[in-house]
Symmetry: C2
DNA sequence: GCTACAATCTCCAGTCACTGGAGAAGCAAG
DNA sequence: CTTGCTTCTCCAGTGACTGGAGATTGTAGC
């Protein structure tokens, strides 16, 4: 049985975050010691690492809840996990293309900047008039 | 003088958002009509469009506050605006590379997936064991 | 046993940039 | 004068934490 500090170190998840995950039902409430401290079984480390890894890939808590449930049940078909992953992938690709459009626009603004006064500043000027900007998705 | 609904339509910023911008001091409080309605001068449209455009490029409110102040004062040097834009550009590039790493990882997970049972699911399996994943920044 | 000090507890407020609902009041047209 | 639209203020919720206050509990050394 591990105390929360130990679990935190072993899993790489901060203590308040572990308590938060418990409060939203993502991590099952552990047993308590006599003095009311949370005492975790060793499997908790794995569960938390799973969660952390999924968070690092940008999955939302709800998706992770599903993914973690599926991981518990090895006989289930894997199509739902697959779907969740594909959905996340699409999200990522949309985000990247939005960011790429922003980047292109900023590069153009900065590149054009004459480093003089505001009145001739391309950065301010472009912000001021959307028409002066590539109508890219941003 | 424009009522808030008109300003909202002309600027493309929602009514509650306009009120929010006023509450945080990003948009100066307009005069009020006898019946306590906000009445905006025509310049408000431009200011709000400026803000909206900057938000679309992902600038934070604090940065926009500075940018909008600079735009008011055309005699100022443009280096600060330039710096703010460069900073945002760096942020974007970091975000893109983080997302690209996530994307690569997900593509690998999904591609490997045999579409069978969870026990052999590469998606779940990879989440379960970080060591099985490219140690890319994600 | 006593004293530090570390670890943990609960509760609550704050982050960021909105968003939307409730309930009241004002305003224009028919 | 009524109907319906717009606007008003206030407040709570979003997602996923994060951190502080103040109280307890546990542990190590003396």
């Amino acid at each position: 049985m591990l105390a929360i500090g130990r679990l935190s170190k072993d899993s790489g998840v901060k203590i308040p975050t572990i308590r938060y995950y418990e409060s939203i039902g993502l991590l099952p409430p552990p047993v308590r010691s006599e003095g009311n401290r949370r005492m975790y079984p060793p499997e908790a480390v794995r569960r938390l690492r799973f969660i952390r890894h999924a968070r690092e890939l940008g999955f939302e808590i709800d998706a992770i809840r599903r993914l973690a449930d599926l991981a518990q049940d090895p006989a289930q078909p894997c199509c739902e996990a697959d779907l969740l992953a594909r959905r996340r992938l699409i999200e990522i690709e949309e985000k990247i293309s939005r960011l790429a459009a922003q980047r292109d626009e900023l590069v153009r603004m900065i590149g054009d900047c004459t480093h003089g006064r505001i009145e001739e500043c391309r950065v301010i000027d472009t912000l001021d008039d959307h028409a002066k900007c590539l109508h890219a998705r941003h």
